[in-house]
């Protein structure tokens, strides 16, 4: 990933800054700049999510792309944030502990790196809430 491509999403990736449509009240993470319900009549503003959510589904990645190969096995999940939207994220927990319906909250973690000397990608992962 190019430096600028990573850099422009730092607030979103580090601090879970998504968006909200003030016309209909719907929350978006990953952020959207156009509300699919209100389209051009929707007004979009930034929104910081509180980072609490529930695991909707998950898997344990055993075979990954080169960037993630040295971190396998890892738990990948779809998490539904309490505000409504869903995102794809890693759950930092032992694979056997992952369960549908488990409560999780967000943490700041190293996600991947572009090779030995490239950008280190930090971002949001989740951990079990209890």
């Amino acid at each position: 990933m190019s430096v600028s491509r990573f850099w422009r999403k730092i607030p979103q990736r580090y601090n879970l800054i998504g968006t909200r449509c003030t016309t209909c009240g719907r929350y978006f993470f990953p952020p959207r700049s156009l509300c699919p319900d209100c389209r051009r009549s929707g007004k979009i503003v930034d929104h910081k999510f509180n980072g609490e959510g529930t695991v909707v589904t998950y898997t344990v990645i055993r075979s990954a792309s080169d960037q993630f190969e040295n971190t396998t096995p890892y738990v990948l999940a779809v998490v539904e944030l309490d505000e409504g939207p869903r995102l794809t994220t890693q759950i930092a927990c032992p694979p056997e502990e992952a369960k549908i319906g488990m409560r999780v909250h967000s943490v700041f973690r190293r996600v991947a790196a572009d090779g030995e000397s490239g950008t280190i990608h930090y971002g949001t992962k989740f951990v079990p809430a209890e």
């Binding site: 990933m1 999403k9 990736r13 990953p30 909707v56 589904t57 998950y58 898997t59 344990v60 990645i61 055993r62 075979s63 990954a64 792309s65 080169d66 960037q67 993630f68 190969e69 971190t71 890892y74 990948l76 999940a77 779809v78 869903r86 995102l87 794809t88 994220t89 890693q90 694979p95 549908i100 996600v111 991947a112 990608h121 971002g123």
Partner: protein, 386 residues
Amino acid sequence: MRDVAVIGVGCTEFGEHWGTSFRDLFVKAGALALEDAGVTGENLDALYVGNMSAGRFVEQEHIGALIADYAGLATNHVPSTRVEAACASGGLAFRQAVIAVASGMEDIVVAAGVEKMTDVGTGASVDMLASAADREWEGFAGATFPGLYAMIATDYMHRYPLTREQLAEVAVKNHENGAKNPIAQFRNRITVDTVLNSSLVADPLRLFDCSPITDGAAAVVVVPLERAREFTDSPVRVLASAQASDTIALHDRRDISTLDASVAAGKRAFAQAGLAHRDIDMLEVHDCFTIAEICAIEDLGFCKKGEAGRLTAEGATALGGAIPVNTSGGLKACGHPVGATGIKQIYEIVSQLRGEATGRQVDAEIGMAHNVGGTGATVVVHILGA
């Protein structure tokens, strides 16, 4: 709108073609299709080529022109267009060819698909295939393509009574069919134990739940139905051509285990053709993973949600079953050169409807093809009739 017919088909063997280049694969499939159709290059009005990622697999873009050139069509300046919708690129190329002919703009058109995947390593391939999903918000987090379908499987098995063994039966059945298909990448039979003892890729999916990395190309020739008899005694009619979109990311879907784009495209196809499920004699569906075939059968409406695993284990989708599914061996056993798969599905259905599927022939007059891009962000459905 004019009715459209397929008058010729061609397909390379699917597999690891170390000695054959991207362009050579395409030329071979194209030549087979033109020979089958009894047309020559000078007759062609246009080419539509499905290809997912030549730019990353072989560092070549501008595929339309490259293919026109190496097919010997550059000097007559035949228009050639690349079509891309990830793993649905082939189905979409066929649909573009059908639209071009139906509209009256073009008469004799080749729809093709090609992918050369083995020139990069497995890690790089996994990374490229993940770009069929949402790169920024799925891929960034470490989602692999098998991982996304694994999350569909986890959700599905949590909600419906699908057993791990029933899921394995999809791969067993598709290898059984692939064993009878001379172009298939894997022509070996496997058992449920083969699947259950293979290594985990992304829980609960194992290696034998996954379609392979494949090189291959396929091509078909379409013309207005009213001209089809000039070329062949056995034209195959295009009874429906439907397409639907959904969210690029799995996490944004209404329902993780239902591909709503499959539901929408399926309904549109049935409405266009004026047909019901009982009229369909065979299906080629997009089994990039075993769970995908289960979802496809259900989402297209051939049974209720939660039933396809049991029906598969009972043999309903086998060659002699009530509705044979993936007689070619599917993506699992025939192989999955991503851009070519959608055209190979048309190739298989045409072969079956013409009675030329030696060794795996089913009694069929009408077949349906179902081609998925990503985890269901694009779905293309075609119905063909003898």
